[in-house]
Symmetry: C2
Subunit: 619 residues, 2 copies
Amino acid sequence: MNYSKTFIPTLREVPADAVIVSHRLMFRSGMIRKLTNGLFAYLPLGLRSFRKVDQIVREEMDAIGALEMKPTVMQPGELWKESGRWEAMGDAMLKVKNRLDNDFVVSPTAEEAFTAIVRDELSSYRQLPLVLYQSNTKFRDEIRPRYGVMRGREFVMKDAYSWHRDDQSLDETYQAMGRAYRRIFKRCGLTVIPVKADSGAMGGSGSEEFMVESEIGDNTLILCKNCDYAANVEKAACGTDFSFRPSPEAAGTASANIPPFEKIDTPDVRTIDELCTFLATDSKNFIKTLIYRAVNVELDLSTAPGCKNLERKKTSAEAPAVYPEAFFAVAIRGDLDVNEMKLAALVKASEVSLASDADVTRLTNAPVGFAGPVGLDTLPVIVDHTVTGMSDAVTGALAKDAHYRHVAYGRDFSGWRIADQWSADVRTVKAGDSCSLCGGELYEKKGNELGHIFKLGYKYTRSMNVSYLDENGKSQIPTMGSYGIGVDRTLASVIEEHHDEAGIIWPVSVAPYHVIIVPIKYNGEVKTAADRLVAGLEAQGIEVLLDDRDERPGVKFNDADLVGIPWRVVVGDKGLSGTKPQVEIKHRREKESRMVDLEGAVADLAGHIADELMELNRD
Amino acid sequence: MNYSKTFIPTLREVPADAVIVSHRLMFRSGMIRKLTNGLFAYLPLGLRSFRKVDQIVREEMDAIGALEMKPTVMQPGELWKESGRWEAMGDAMLKVKNRLDNDFVVSPTAEEAFTAIVRDELSSYRQLPLVLYQSNTKFRDEIRPRYGVMRGREFVMKDAYSWHRDDQSLDETYQAMGRAYRRIFKRCGLTVIPVKADSGAMGGSGSEEFMVESEIGDNTLILCKNCDYAANVEKAACGTDFSFRPSPEAAGTASANIPPFEKIDTPDVRTIDELCTFLATDSKNFIKTLIYRAVNVELDLSTAPGCKNLERKKTSAEAPAVYPEAFFAVAIRGDLDVNEMKLAALVKASEVSLASDADVTRLTNAPVGFAGPVGLDTLPVIVDHTVTGMSDAVTGALAKDAHYRHVAYGRDFSGWRIADQWSADVRTVKAGDSCSLCGGELYEKKGNELGHIFKLGYKYTRSMNVSYLDENGKSQIPTMGSYGIGVDRTLASVIEEHHDEAGIIWPVSVAPYHVIIVPIKYNGEVKTAADRLVAGLEAQGIEVLLDDRDERPGVKFNDADLVGIPWRVVVGDKGLSGTKPQVEIKHRREKESRMVDLEGAVADLAGHIADELMELNRD
C-alpha cells in the first residue's frame, strides 16, 4: 500500500483528554478519531491492527472447537425480562423503545440471546457440550468514558458461552478457554496476569480474570514476590499467618494468666486512631467491631443470636428462600479492613454494606464508636481469624465513652459459629501480608481486566427454561459457562506495553503493516529498487507500507516511528550506488540499523518476521 | 469440519411467517434463527456464507482504492442535528437517550459520521479524491419487517462515501463504484438489473440502483423487450409516442374543424369509469385533471396563476427559499396515472400528494370529480405530453354534474408554461408503453434493491461545513458521493436465484463449504478414505464438511441437498472394493453422479472448483 493512497492523519498534538499512552498514540498515529465522548472511529490504520487482534481471538476460539455465530446488536428486551436482568443491569445498559412500543436493548453482553437460541435447538445430551461465540459490537453506558478505547462506551467484545451436562464437562471447556486466552494474549505480545478467583478463600467457584498491569487500572491486584499467586484484592485470601486458629476453648485456656477484662473511661474517644493516642499503644492491640447490613441472605440464621424473628422469603419460584435483611457484627484486628466481597460470600448475601448509625445505635445499645464483641448478643458476631490470637486486647464496651481492656478471645467472648468454623477470613489482604500459598511477601499492582472466564452454573438455563433429554430420556437442565475478551482494550494494552517516546512498537502479529519502506526520494533508481522490494515482500505474504510521499526523510522517519511498523527499510541513492547495491534495515525496537544487500533484503526480512511470529505463537 | 462438531440444526418444517424461498431455506438449513420480529441471528453455517459475501464486497472496494474504517454503530445525535436529518429521517431511525441525557442514534446510514471525520482531517486538495467505507451493523425500524433477512430491522450494509474537488472526479469514482458493484454481484452468482436514474426524463442526476428480480420486490421496474433500458417505475421516462408535442397554437390550428366544446349534463357521474359507461366511449378520450398539494416548492411561481400571494420562506441559512405550500392541477390522458416523483421533480418540491377534498372544492369551485383544464385559473395547470395530441376530448366542467365535450388542447385551453415547455412528462410508465430509447415494448418486473450508488453533491459538505484549500489557497467545498450494498439482502438474493425443491444450490464463491463428504458408514476403510480425502482437499485450500454422523445415507443426502454444498462426494464400501477404489462425485445442480478414482478425486474437485471460481470472477 502506498502511503499517499491511504489515510493516516498523524499528528504532533495530543487532545487534552488523552491522558494515557495508548490513547495518545492511537490518536497521534491516526489509528482512531473521537466521534463523541466514549465513541471512537477506527481509521484505516487502526482497523488493520484491530482486525488482527480480532482474528487471533477467532483462531484460538475455533481451535478449541467453539463455533462462531452472529446474533444482532439490538436485542429484544423480552429476553432480558425473562432472565431477570432487565432491571438488574442498571443504567449502563441502554434500553430503547421503537415506534411500536417494542423494547430493545443495545447488547452489553449476550447470555440471553445465546441461551434463547440454544433453548430452541437443544434436545439431546448428544448435542453437548456446545460452545458458541461471537465477536461483535457491545455498548455500555459508562458515566465517565475515559482513556480512549480502553474504556469506551461502544466496543467489540468476543463473548463465548458453553452448555454442559455436568461440572466435569464445564470444567474441561473452562480449562481449554483458559489455555486459549493465554495463547491469545501471548500471540498479541501481551504480558497478562491470570487471576484466579478460586486460588484462595473463595473456594473453587471457577472464575479467572486476565489482567494487564496499568496505572489507570480499575482493579487492585495482590501478587506474591515469591510464587505466582495473583488475586484481585476483592477476593485475595489471607495468608498463612493465622493458619493456627485456636478454638475459643483452647484460646481461653491459653489466656488464663491475663488479668480479667475491665472497663476504662474513654471520654470522646471513638476512632481507633484516637484510642491509640489515648492509650499510647498500637492499633494491632484493638479488636475493631463493625456492624454490617446484609440483604437477601441465604445462610440459615434460625439459631443465630437476635435472628429468631427473621423470616425467609421467596423472591422467585426457582430461587431459594432468603432473609431480605439481616445484620452481622464483624470483629477484626484494629489495623485491618473488612473485605465486603468475602463477607457477602460467607453469609451468602447478595450485598453487604456498613449499617446506618441508627441501626448501630439500636443494635449495640451505644453511640457509634463503642461496639465490641463482649456481651454483644443482639446479632451474630463473626470473628475474623486475626482475632483468634488476641488475648489482651482493647474493645468497645457497648456504652458511651467506655472501652474494655485485657479482653481475651475465647475467655471473654467467642463469635457465632459459621459454616462449622469459629472464625473466618473476612479481611482485605494488603501489600506486606504474607502469601496464602507460600508465605512470601505480597505486593500490590493496579490492573485492567482484558478477559474473564466464568463458570455460570444454572443461572440462565434455569431462569430461561433450557433443558435436554439425557440417556434415559429424562429432562435435565444444562450448566453453563461464559467467557469474554475486550478486543479494543486488548489492542490498546499492546500499545501500553510496547512503545517508547517516539511512538508505538508493534509486535509483528498485530502490526498494521510488517514493513515500511522509506525511499529517500521516490524516483529514479530509488523508486525502481523500492518498488522491487515491495513486490518481493508482498509475494511472500508480507504487508508493506511504501512511503511514496514527497516529504523530507526526517518527516517520514518520525511518522514511521510514531506509527510503529516493526521493520523499516531505507532506500537511498548512496546505498544503491556501490558495486553491491544496499539498503538500510532497522527494527523499530533497535537504535542501530544495518546495511543489507538489496539482493538479499527480502529473504532477510522474511526470515526475521517468521522468527518473531513463531516466537509469539509458541506455546 | 466434522458435521457432528458443528451446529447445523436443519429442519423439515418452515415457520408460518416464512413466505419467500430464501427465508424458508435459510431457516430450514440452519443458517439463521429469529430472535424477534426483524432480528435474526446467523448460526455458524449462515455466518460462513455471510462472511464470504462481505469479503467479496470488501475485496472489490479495496481494489478501487476505497479505504475501510470502522466508526461506531451508536452515533452521536448531534451530528444528525447538524446535517438536518435528526427530524427528516423519521421514525425508522431509532433514537436513544442515555442516563446523562445525551442523544444517540442507532446508525441507519453514516453520511454524517464519515463527513464529521473527514471535516476534521481534510485540509488540502492533495488529499482528494478520498473514498472511505465500512461494512457494519445498521438498524432501520421497519414497521412490518418481513421476508427474513431480506427486510430485517438490523442488517449489515457496506456504505462508502467519497469526497471530490469537482464533478469529473466524482464521476470517475461513481463509475468505478458502478463497475465494482457489477463485479461484486457477478462474483456472488447474481443476475442484477442496473437501473440508471438518468437513463430518461430525470436528467443526468447520477444515481444507479442494482436490482434483482423478486416477486416480493419493493420496486416496480420497467424494462424494454428490445434494448437494455431499465428504470424504476418511479422514474421511468415516457416513450417516444409523444415525441411530437405541438405548441398550443399549432394544436389549436389543427383543431379548427372540431365542433366547439359544449357542456353536457352528467348527473352523479364522477369517476372516469362512470363517465365511460355514461358516454359509451373509452377513457383515452378523457382529459383527467388532478389537483396536487406540493410542499417546499423551489420553482419560481411569481407569474403562475393563483400564486400571486404565495410567499417564499427560508428553512435554513444554506438552503434556497421555498414556498411552504402550493397547489397544481395536472391534466393527463384519462387512462394514465400521474407519477408523483416526476411531478415533484418538475416543480422542485420536497413532496407532492393529492389535495384534500376541501382544497379541491375550493380551487375548482366544484365538488370532487368535476375538475377540468378549461377555464381553470385558480392555480397553475400542468399539461402532460399525452394531452397535447387530444383535440376532441371530454373534461370536467368545473361544476357539479357537468362535463364538457369536444374539448381541444390549444384551442380551448393550454397549461402553465413550466421550464420553458408547454407540456411535461409526468405520467407513470407501464407495461405495453414504448421504450424512450428504442421504441420497443416495455414490460414490468418486481425488483428488490441490493445496492445503490448516488452522487450526493454538496448536501452534507455544505450543511456540515466541510472545506479544503485549493491550489490557490482558496477555501472550497468538496462534492460527495454515497454508495451502499445490503450484505444480508445480497446473500438472501443468491438463494432466491439458486435453489430447487430440495434446497439451496450455492455458487462456489459464497458456499459455506465447497465440498461435503458423505461416508455411507463412517468407519473402517470408508473412514480412512474419507479422512484422506478431507486432508487432501484441505491441503488445497478447499473447505470441506465431513458428514461423520451416525445417520442413514438418505438423511445425510437430504441435509446435503438442503444445505446446498456445491460438490458432494459419497464414499462407500462398494466403490472402494474394486481393484481401483472409487468414490461418487456429484454437483448439487446435476442429477447424475459419476464415479471417480479415489486417487484422482482431489485433483478432479480442485479443478472443477477453480474453474467455477474463475468463471464467477471473470469480468
